[in-house]
Amino acid sequence: QSALTQPASVSGSPGQSITISCTGTGSDIGAYNYVSWYQQHPGKAPKVIIYGVSSRPSGVSNRFSGSKSGSTASLTISGLQAEDEADYYCNSYRGGLYVFGTGTTVTVL
């Protein structure tokens, strides 16, 4: 069961915007609006920051936004802050199970 494809790393300066892509197939991202994104700081459990492609859980900064086009989902972080430095994983429903992306390390320069 192959993972969704993400860039290994993305970097940006404080205040900038960055976008992380997540490419799947017509069996996962392309078939369902069930894409979620997770932020993981070193040594910590993942935390959901986007669900249902573009919805934010209560308490998550509105600097995080999500979108989808075809079989590719995207996470945008605007007004980049030092605390955003972490690993980010996309996740999609795929026929009764779920699949994560390969993960992207965000570095704040």
Binding site: Q1, A3, Y38, Y51, L97
Partner: protein, 119 residues
Amino acid sequence: EVQVVQSGAEVKNPGEFLKISCQGSGYNFADYWVGWVRQMPGKGLEWMGLFYGANSETRYSPSFQGQVTISGDKSINTAYLQWSSLEASDTAMYYCATTRDGNTHWDNWGQGTLVTVSP
């Protein structure tokens, strides 16, 4: 408030049996799915399988089918992940996460259980 608490770190020898747990509180276990996620050292997240509290339905990701067993006991709001014979390659952090049936995102996570398999 929903809380998910996992059992503590384990150090085992190859070939040994292991069962780790994930206990929830603050919600009706029967209304929720529990998922198990593996994170090998320095690597990404991988879904291992799912457990549904209402009817004990279990689903395994293809890579983990036959390698582990997922189960649960709704009388104590607890899900389990077990290995009958550990290998060194099972060394990893294991997380459980929960989602209400009908949702498709995982909003409550355990703190993780570190499993180390070493002779």
